[in-house]
């Protein structure tokens, strides 16, 4: 594909995806199927490692710094500037730990669980439009795909909880699946209310629709981000998302004061790193979904090339919010959590969907 064709494609509103861009830049597209596969692999490798780098910064460094700031401490500051080299030190330290495997574990499941948790978290990023042309794929079922793959992690958590042969792990795994299931439906139904507005599941389309101005206030146009169009849905989605990724105040599956560390109690060394990595990837995936369907995706002031900067700012803002809640809110009890989910959020999310549908119907008709 020549540059001209690419420009035409873009003008058509069809997105110019990262694998195609790499194929054009490197000339890999001329090598047929093999070249395309290689270009797709390079693109996937870039996106995967971008997310890995972000969790690397978030896990050992940002989380400590943020919590320390909330509790009036300094945290890591000895290794490198602002203590940033702690990321390298921690990575080496954790990977070099002895991997202790308890006696009674259910072997294939115990080893597969960390891979499932970490690998499935990465899958969701394939369809997220990150701005500046960083998007791996843009299928028409984008939003459903994201919800589908982000649910796979529950399987990994149950595997980890059951296979560990530890009572705390079993309780943690059970709590994790009960929680994920209870909040998955409010999450998806609230996401659906955005689809009712947008009339499409394709994420690039949902982002494009949000670029239109909602109202003009003194020469300053407020974009039609769905967080502004439907703030009720935004709040519901945020709450359901925090429960889905198991962050405070909904972190009952790994509540340290109740069940030690839940499903990850018996994991050490690289397995622990992988489960931890999967959790952070899930926080960022949740942030990416929120940014895409409620906060205009990569939209922001300045030229369109800055898109990825704004996108990263938005998902880091969601990450900061999770850490803020971690410092500020007490944990809910498991029975309260379940009741909030099934009796509160579920009913509210259906009310939101029905009201949104009526509203859209009245506006359009």
């Amino acid at each position: 594909m020549s540059t001209l064709e690419a420009a035409v494609l873009q003008a058509d509103g069809d997105t110019y995806l990262l694998p195609e861009r790499i194929a054009d830049l490197t000339g890999l597209g001329e090598f047929g199927m093999g070249g395309e596969l290689l270009a797709a692999f390079i693109a996937a490798f870039i996106v995967g490692n971008l997310m890995l780098a972000m969790t690397g910064v978030a896990g050992p460094w940002a989380k400590r710094k943020i919590t320390a700031a909330f509790t009036d401490r300094i945290a890591v500051n000895r290794v490198g500037p602002f203590g940033l080299l702690i990321i390298v030190a921690d990575a080496v330290r954790l990977l070099a730990k002895e991997n202790i495997i308890p006696e009674d574990v259910d072997r294939p499941a115990y080893d597969l669980a960390p891979i499932v948790v970490a690998g499935s978290a990465m899958l969701g990023f394939a369809v997220i439009p990150m701005g500046s042309g960083v998007q791996l794929a843009d299928p028409e079922v984008g939003l459903v795909y994201v919800f589908a793959v982000s649910g796979i992690a529950s399987v990994g958590l149950v595997m980890a909880g059951y296979a560990s042969s530890n009572k705390y792990s079993l309780l943690g795994g059970l709590r994790a699946v009960a929680q994920n299931i209870a909040y998955e439906i409010p999450l998806v139904v609230t996401g659906m209310s955005v689809v009712v507005f947008a009339g499409t599941l394709q994420l690039s389309e949902i982002v494009a629709i949000q670029a239109e101005p909602l109202i003009e206030l003194g020469g300053f146009a407020i974009p039609a981000w769905y967080a502004f169009v439907n703030p009720f849905a935004f709040v519901l989605f945020l709450a359901a998302n925090f429960a889905e990724i198991g962050r405070n105040p909904f972190d009952t599956p790994e509540a340290p004061t109740e069940i030690v560390a839940g499903y990850q109690t018996e994991y050490s060394s690289v397995y622990f790193v992988l489960i931890y990595l999967g959790e952070f990837l899930h926080i960022f995936l949740g942030g990416a979904i929120i940014a895409t369907i409620f906060l205009g995706g990569p939209a922001g002031p300045g030229p369109a090339e800055l898109g990825i900067v704004w996108f990263l700012v938005k998902i880091w803002a969601v990450f900061l919010l999770t850490q803020w809640l971690r410092s500020a809110l007490p944990r809910v009890r498991i029975d309260q959590l379940i009741e909030i989910g099934w009796k509160g959020m579920l009913v509210l999310s259906f009310a939101n969907l029905v009201l949104t549908a009526i509203l859209v119907g009245v506006i359009v008709a």
């Binding site: 596969l37 530890n166 009712v196 992988l274």
Partner: protein, 139 residues
């Protein structure tokens, strides 16, 4: 280019990164096996009894209700996608587009109300806790 190739590539990378980390860790880490080290953690005590026991897994909440509502969301998504375009085309009235969906949701909400009344959407309490609760309730 088919987009699903790129998604498959990311799945491959998502598998490759954990396996790579496990390989690096395998090269770096020591291995000093010892029996007492391999005991499961039970707050520092010697573990008592097995873990694979009969256990209340909150069947209605974890399995049954979820399946019902998840299938509902799957069936609602096509409606959500075509709802606005259908109204904008002017070929259907608001009632025709909205009515069936409202009925569908209403039927499932009746189901939820039934489950609610039967206590299926409640985290089952242990017998001990129910007893102590009853004592509190007694005047």
């Amino acid at each position: 280019m088919n987009e699903w190739i790129a998604i498959g590539a990311l799945a491959f990378v998502g598998l490759l990164i954990p396996l790579g980390m496990m390989a690096v860790s395998y090269l770096l880490r020591p291995s000093v096996p010892e029996t007492s080290k391999r005991a499961t953690y039970e707050s520092g005590e010697v573990p008592t009894g097995g873990t694979r026991i009969r256990f209340n897994i909150q069947y209605y909440m974890v399995a049954l209700l979820f399946v019902v509502f998840d299938i509902e969301t799957v069936l609602l998504f096509p409606w959500a996608v075509i709802y606005r375009p259908a109204l904008e085309s002017g070929q259907v009235t608001l009632l025709e587009a909205l009515g069936p969906m409202l009925l569908f949701v209403a039927i499932l909400l009746v189901g939820l109300a039934w489950a609610w009344r039967n206590g299926a959407v409640q985290w089952a309490k242990s017998p001990h806790r129910v007893d102590s609760q009853a004592e509190v309730d007694r005047p």
